[in-house]
Structures are given as structure tokens and as C-alpha cells.
């Protein structure tokens, strides 16, 4: 029998809301807001996948006429590319792990009754929601969605006349990004204040679960990075609508002087990538924290090197702000600058390797339980290594110049930033679904989902490396027009079929999610026999998280297989075992 130490005073910020609107729409409860973020990301990921499927269809059958859409034009391909990238990076990879699971579980895992500023938390979600709507609206305005890619490189993005979609569609794209930045900043403010000021008694920094560390560091990165992206967006809007020339040099379009003078497209790249590289870690760090958590829980072992994991995440976050130049090796930068950025980029391999070896160390001689959250956590490690290993290649300026505008780069970032993070989201869903809903997800469907996703992911993205090494350029919409690409079309075709199957597999997940809500087996209070605070409270957690109590923490978060303990796990709130061990 576990004994939990709780202080008895109620201390929640606000009474439980009554009425549908206050309870489920404009809720101040971090748990409801977390679910809202998750549902937004879930919608976004299916939109993003649909767009990617259209792109893959167009690559293989460029003249095919699709139901309702007709034939996809080359410029429409670039619009799909732009919105796919933007939605996936911002509204999925940034939104679900941080806004979704972070919102729901950070306060509970540190023993707080809510976020520090619940109203701000609600505003943060609705700003993000509005940003998503504005982003989608760019498809339906005259000219359609922008063509400039998710990186929005100037001068294309700065000139309304540079192509269809670069008019109102591009303005909406920038406004959407700016709104997203505001929402993300409000969220980051809440995460940092809550973590620093609302931890339960006994929850010292070094007793926080690694998930909390990951959300906390991610929030710091967001706080520093999104302000810079916002500034770049403001300058871009001014260039487009007020005639300033921050990013647009003097030049001509179709033989006509643009009216701009003296701007620098490289300035955009510097500002964008100063945000853009930390954004990679904003996407992946929460998944790293979660993988650490799950590998420990399902190996029934303490995480190998807890402090090393914390310092590795801090190092990754710190170094992440010093390497933006490696995205700009093609821009003609000084070889000395390129060398510096190259060395710093490879330095990130050190904390990344520490994390990887610690994950493997955690698995070593563990009593591993291969349940669905664990499968996806292991899948995350696999994808992180597979995607990460190509990073040092791209960090070499000379190699990058060869590979930069080829499919090698999408292969790299899809594996490490995209799918690895999404595996983290899946792992979190399977792990915390019982706590959120009181029901288990179906394990059989989860396994089918895992194997289809893992094999499908590798089938889609590993061949991209070979395309890149063969010199296949990115962003080409019509491969049949280029003779030397003909021999690569079978590989593209294979990837397209793999994408069909992988996306079909995601409907198994969606079905499982909805089906389990009603028909899933009833979950026990602590079905995974984990130690952290969310498993000490009722399922689903009450409005104030701990039912009028506040937990008191005595132990670290990864006390598994403790010698002398009556069970193979010791809850963080268990004072009896803490006294004997």
C-alpha cells in the first residue's frame, strides 16, 4: 500500500466553473486548455498530412486531376509546401508537446493546482487558434497561399508581385506567424513562472521529472526565440505594405524597378534562423524529456544519469542559439564564420550523445515492459539517432554546399525534428490517456499503429537521403521535365506509396483514440506503476488537481527497483520509504 504525503489546505485559484462555455470553451483550467491545444494540434497534423499527400501525388502524377481540386499546378505545389511546413512546425510540433501535454501535466507534476496565470493561459490558446484559422484562410483569398516556403525567404516573401500567393495570402501567413508568436510567448511566460514559483514542498529542481525540465527549458528557448521571429515579421510586413527596404535590395522584377533600395535578404535569414534553429529544439526537447521518463518507467530502472540529462538539455538549449549560421553556408559567408558555426554545430553532438547513451544505459539490464508508450519511446530514440546522424554531415560547410538544396536536408529534418517529435507525441498520448480519460487505449491497435508508423516513416524518409546524394533538388514540382531525374522517379513512387500506407496507419490511431474514450478498458489509478505526482491523484484529476490537498514530495522522480522497498517503485510522495532508504 502506498502512502502519500499531502498537506490538507485547499488552495486553488478559482472555483470549478459551471456552464459549458466557461467549462469547455473559455476555460481557465490548465487541463482543459491542454486538451484544447492537443485537439488543435491533432486537427493540424491531419491537415498537414493531407497537404503532404497532395504533394506526393503531384510529384508522381503531375497531370492527375484530383476530385474537387483538379490538377495541381506547380505554383500550387509550392503553396502546399509552404503551408505543410508551417502548419507542421508551428501548429503541431510546437503546439502538441508543449501547449498540449505541457499545459496538462506540468502543474500536476510539480504539485501545483494550476498555472500561475490562468487567464493568460486561456488567451494563449485562443491566440494560437486564431493564428491557425488565419493560416488556413490564406488558401481561400485571391491568389491563394504563399509560395515562399516555411522559411519565408526574402526578397520573394517581401514583394507582393513576386508570384501568385505572395499578395494577401503572404500577408495572412505573416500575421498568422506573428499571432502564433504572441500565443507562444504568453504560454512560455506561464510555464516559466509556474515552474519557478509554484512547486510543491519538497519538489526541488533536481526532483523535477525530466518532462518538467524539458518543458521548462523549451519555454526559455521560446521566450528568447519568438520575440526575434516577431520582430522579423514586423519588418517583413513593413517592407510589403509600407514600402520600407529592410530585406529588399534595389532590383527589378520583369524588367521593372521594384521601388525598394538598399535592403538585405541576408538580414531576414539571420533573424529567421536565430529563431529557426532553437525552434528545432523547441520541437524535440519535450519529446526528449518524455522519452527519458518512459524509458525509466517501462525499464523499471532509475533514469541513467539524471543530472547529466538535465545538463545535457540545458547545453542543447544554450548551444542552440549559437548555430543559426549553419543554415546559411550557401549565402557566401566568410569561411571563418562558417568554420565557427560548423564547430559549434558539431558540439551539439556531445550533449545529444550523452542523452542517447543514457537512454541506452537506462534500457540496459532493465526489466523492460514493451507496452505501447514504451514502443513509441524506443521508436523516438531510433528516429533521433537516425535523423541526428546526418546532422554532422550537414554541419560541414563544404558538404552542405553540395547537399543543401537537395532532398538530403528534408530527410534529415523530417526524421529528427518531425517524426521523432511526433513519436514523442504518440508516446505521451498512449501514456497519459488513462490519466486524462480513466480508460486505457487498445493495445492491439496501438501496436499496429506503431509498426506501420515506424516502418512507414523509414520507408518514406530514408530514401530521401539517397535522392539528395544523387543530386535531386528540393522544391522541384515536376520531375518528368528533367532528364537526369527520370531514374529517380521509381524511388519517389515508392515513397509515395509508403506515405499512403503510413497515413492510413494514422487513422488506426485516430480510431483507437475515439473508440477507447467509450470502450477502452477502465484504467487503474496507476496503470503503469509510475512514481510521479500525476499518478497520486484521482483519475481524471479534479479541478484543483489534488482534491483540496497539496502533495509533499520526499523522493526523486525515478525511484524504481529501490533495494529494500516493498514494491519496485517508490512514489514521489511516499514518506515511509524515504525514511528507510
Amino acid at each position: 500500500m502506498a502512502t502519500h504525503d499531502f498537506a490538507a489546505t485547499a488552495s486553488h485559484a478559482h472555483a470549478a466553473p459551471q456552464g459549458f462555455i466557461r467549462k469547455y470553451i473559455f476555460s481557465l483550467d490548465h487541463k482543459v486548455i491542454g486538451i484544447q491545444y492537443y485537439l488543435l494540434a491533432l486537427t493540424a497534423v491531419f491537415v498537414g498530412m493531407y497537404l503532404s499527400l497532395l504533394m506526393r501525388i503531384h510529384l508522381i502524377w503531375p497531370t492527375a486531376s484530383l476530385p474537387l481540386l483538379g490538377e495541381i499546378k506547380p505554383e500550387a505545389y509550392l503553396s502546399l509546401l509552404t503551408i505543410h511546413g508551417t502548419i507542421m512546425v508551428f501548429f503541431v510540433l510546437t503546439t502538441a508537446p508543449q501547449g498540449g501535454f505541457g499545459n496538462y501535466f506540468l502543474p500536476i507534476q510539480i504539485g501545483a493546482p494550476d498555472m500561475a496565470f490562468p487567464v493568460l493561459n486561456m488567451l494563449s490558446f485562443w491566440t494560437t487558434f486564431l493564428a491557425f484559422m488565419v493560416m488556413l484562410a490564406s488558401f481561400i483569398v485571391p491568389g491563394g497561399a504563399p509560395l515562399h516556403g516555411w522559411t519565408g525567404y526574402a526578397p520573394m516573401s517581401a514583394l507582393q508581385s513576386s508570384g501568385p500567393g505572395e499578395g494577401l495570402g503572404a500577408d495572412l501567413w505573416i500575421i498568422s506567424i506573428a499571432l502564433f508568436c504572441l500565443g507562444a510567448l504568453m504560454g512560455a511566460l506561464n510555464f516559466i513562472t509556474t515552474t519557478l514559483d509554484m512547486r510543491a514542498k519538497g519538489m526541488s529542481l533536481m526532483r523535477m521529472p525530466l518532462t518538467v525540465w524539458a518543458w521548462f527549458i523549451t519555454a526559455i528557448l521560446g521566450l528568447l526565440a519568438f520575440g526575434v521571429l516577431l520582430s522579423a515579421g514586423v519588418l517583413l510586413l513593413m517592407d510589403r505594405n509600407l514600402g520600407s527596404s529592410f530585406f529588399v535590395p534595389m532590383g527589378t522584377i520583369s524588367g521593372q524597378l521594384t521601388g525598394h533600395k538598399g535592403g538585405s535578404p541576408l538580414l531576414w535569414q539571420h533573424l529567421f534562423w536565430f529563431f529557426g534553429h532553437p525552434e528545432v529544439y523547441i520541437a524535440i526537447l519535450p519529446a526528449m524529456g518524455l522519452a527519458s521518463q518512459l524509458l525509466s518507467v517501462f525499464s523499471r530502472k532509475p533514469i541513467f544519469g539524471y543530472k547529466a540529462m538535465v545538463y545535457a538539455m540545458l547545453s542543447i538549449g544554450f548551444l542552440g542559439f549559437m548555430v543559426w549560421g549553419h543554415h546559411m553556408f550557401m549565402s557566401g559567408m566568410s569561411p571563418y564564420s562558417a568554420f565557427t558555426f560548423s564547430v559549434l554545430t558539431m558540439a551539439i553532438g556531445v550533449p545529444s550523445a550523452i542523452k542517447t547513451f543514457n537512454w541506452l544505459g537506462t534500457l540496459l539490464r532493465g526489466r523492460i515492459r514493451f507496452q505501447s508508450p514504451m514502443l513509441f519511446a524506443i521508436g523516438f530514440v531510433s528516429l533521433f539517432v537516425s535523423g541526428g546522424i546526418s546532422g554532422p554531415f550537414l554541419a560541414q560547410p563544404l558538404l552542405d554546399i553540395q547537399l543543401h538544396d537537395t532532398w538530403f536536408v528534408p530527410a534529415h529534418f523530417h526524421l529528427i525534428m518531425g517524426v521523432a517529435s511526433i513519436f514523442g507525441i504518440f508516446a505521451a498520448t498512449y501514456y497519459w490517456f488513462p490519466k486524462i480519460t480513466g480508460r486505457m487505449m487498445n493495445e492491439g491497435m496501438a501496436r499496429w499503429h506503431f509498426f506501420i508508423s515506424l516502418i512507414g516513416t523509414y520507408a518514406i524518409f530514408m530514401p530521401m537521403h539517397y535522392l539528395g546524394m544523387a543530386g535531386h533538388p528540393r522544391r522541384y514540382s515536376q520531375l518528368t521535365e528533367v532528364a537526369y531525374l527520370h531514374r529517380l522517379i521509381p524511388l519517389q513512387t515508392f515513397m509515395t506509396y509508403a506515405a499512403f500506407i503510413t497515413i492510413a496507419g494514422q487513422f488506426i490511431f485516430l480510431f483507437n483514440l475515439i473508440w477507447s474514450l467509450k470502450y477502452g478498458a477502465k484504467a487503474a489509478d496507476n496503470p503503469w506503476e509510475a512514481t510521479t505526482l500525476e499518478w497520486t491523484t484521482a483519475t481524471p484529476p479534479p479541478h484543483d488537481n489534488f482534491g483540496g490537498h497539496t502533495p509533499v514530495v520526499h523522493n526523486g522522480p525515478y525511484e524504481y527497483s529501490v533495494p529494500g522497498a516493498p514494491r519496485d517503485f517508490v512514489m514521489q510522495t511516499d514518506p515511509e520509504v524515504a525514511a528507510t532508504h
Binding site: A7, L257, T550
Partner: protein, 248 residues
């Protein structure tokens, strides 16, 4: 089956690196967006949390202006291509700032003084007020109100002065699109003005809280964080002015 032991006696955290994890949440746990509620944290905790939130919120504002500064410095030293002559030219022509900006600076610095008086006054009242017992205390906010009103007046005067300075620039033929240097003047002063408008809005909210006789601790926290924000805005303005005037 878990059993809950309703006790607050604990051992010392073995790995604690800080004090924060040792603060009993019964004193400080709970979200805070302004109004107290039964069982809400005490005044000190609420003030500390609000200040922490504000200081964290100032970081992205700082990053925004660091980013603008970086763009400003880079652009100044950047030669650009003149496609008509096909030559690299230096086209940075400094714009003489309106002298009115100096008067505006004095007004803003004066407003920080009045803001500080308002902050200290409301804090004194919050400490003296038996707010825990009488949420709608009877002391009012009379002594702080004139300082708040003066700060609002000076803030609006500053914004009006900035608008007049932009008018003067326009009269001299400098618009946003005229030259790179004029673009940056409008950008930096405009971004600062928008942030200061937020401060004026917060002052109105603080004033409204006093008029509506909100509890003294709530008013004090509102005025306190607005004052820190206001001081930051004044400092930021001095920085922007120095950047525009001296960074060539």
C-alpha cells in the same frame, strides 16, 4: 489503493538546490490573475509571482528591440547594389532627429518619478490595509490617485509628443519608405510607442481598480507591476534615443 495522510511534516529535500521547492504550496499554490479568492495566496506571494511574471514577460520585449538593434547596426554598415550603375553604394544617410524628442524624453523621465510615488503609496496602503479581513477596505486610494493621474497625463503627453515628432519628420520629407534610416526611426519609435500605450492602458486599469474600490493588495500589485513596466519603458526609450542619435 492509495491512502492519503493529511500531514505537512516532511523531511528536507535531499537534492534541493534552491528554496523554492521548500515553500509550502498551501501558502503559495494557486493561479493568480488579480483578484483574491478564499484560500488564495497571501499578498507577498501574489506580489512575488506577479513581479516574476512581469520580468519574464519583459525578456521577449527586450529580445524584440535587440533584434531591431541588430538589424539597425547591420544595415548601417551594409553597402547595397545600385542596379542602375551596377555598383555597390553606401546609401545610409543619417536623419537629424526632431529636437522635440528631447522634450518628450524629459516628460517620460518625469512620469517615471510620478509612477514611483504612486507605487510606493499604494504599497504602503496595501501593507497597512487589513485586506485579508476586509476585502473591500475603506481606506480608498486617495493619496496614490493623483500620482497615477499625473503619470497617465505625462504618458499621454509623451505619446502626443511622439506623434508631433513624426509629423515634423513627414513635413521635412521623411516617411517610412524614404530612406533606410527614416524607416528605422519610425520602426523603433513606433514599436516603443505601442508598448508604452500598453502601459497607459494598464494605468487606466489600475486607476479603475482604485475607483471601483478593489482590495488594496490587488491595487498595489497592479500598480507595482505597471510601475516596473513603466520604468523599463523609460529606460528603453533612453536607449533608443541614444541608439538613433549616437550609433553611427
Amino acid at each position: 489503493m492509495a491512502s492519503f495522510t493529511p500531514t505537512a511534516s516532511v523531511d528536507d529535500p535531499r537534492l534541493a538546490l534552491d528554496d523554492c521547492g521548500n515553500v509550502p504550496p498551501v501558502r503559495g499554490g494557486g493561479g493568480d490573475d488579480g483578484e483574491p479568492w478564499p484560500g488564495s495566496p497571501d499578498y507577498g506571494t501574489r506580489l512575488r509571482r506577479a513581479r516574476l511574471g512581469l520580468f519574464v514577460a519583459l525578456i521577449p520585449v527586450l529580445m524584440l528591440f535587440v533584434s531591431f538593434t541588430s538589424a539597425y547596426v547591420v544595415r548601417q554598415g551594409l553597402p547595397s547594389l545600385d542596379v542602375r550603375t551596377n555598383q555597390m553604394v553606401r546609401d545610409w544617410i543619417p536623419v537629424q532627429l526632431p529636437i522635440l524628442l528631447l522634450a518628450n524624453t524629459c516628460i517620460l523621465l518625469l512620469s517615471t518619478a510620478s509612477m514611483e510615488f504612486a507605487r510606493r503609496q499604494t504599497k504602503r496602503e496595501a501593507v497597512l490595509s487589513p485586506a485579508e479581513l476586509l476585502p473591500r477596505d475603506l481606506f480608498g486610494d486617495e493619496r496614490a490617485m493623483p500620482w497615477l493621474a499625473l503619470t497617465i497625463f505625462l504618458g499621454i503627453s509623451f505619446l502626443t509628443g511622439q506623434w508631433l515628432a513624426w509629423r515634423e519628420l513627414a513635413t521635412r520629407g521623411y516617411y517610412v519608405s524614404t530612406s533606410p534610416s527614416s524607416s528605422f526611426i519610425y520602426l523603433l519609435t513606433g514599436a516603443h510607442a505601442i508598448h508604452l500605450m500598453g502601459g497607459v492602458l494598464a494605468l487606466f486599469v489600475a486607476g479603475g481598480a482604485a475607483l471601483l474600490r478593489r482590495p488594496a493588495p490587488t491595487r498595489s500589485i497592479l500598480v507595482d507591476i505597471t510601475s516596473w513596466y513603466w520604468h523599463f519603458m523609460a529606460l528603453l526609450w533612453v536607449y533608443i534615443l541614444c541608439l538613433l542619435e549616437f550609433a553611427h
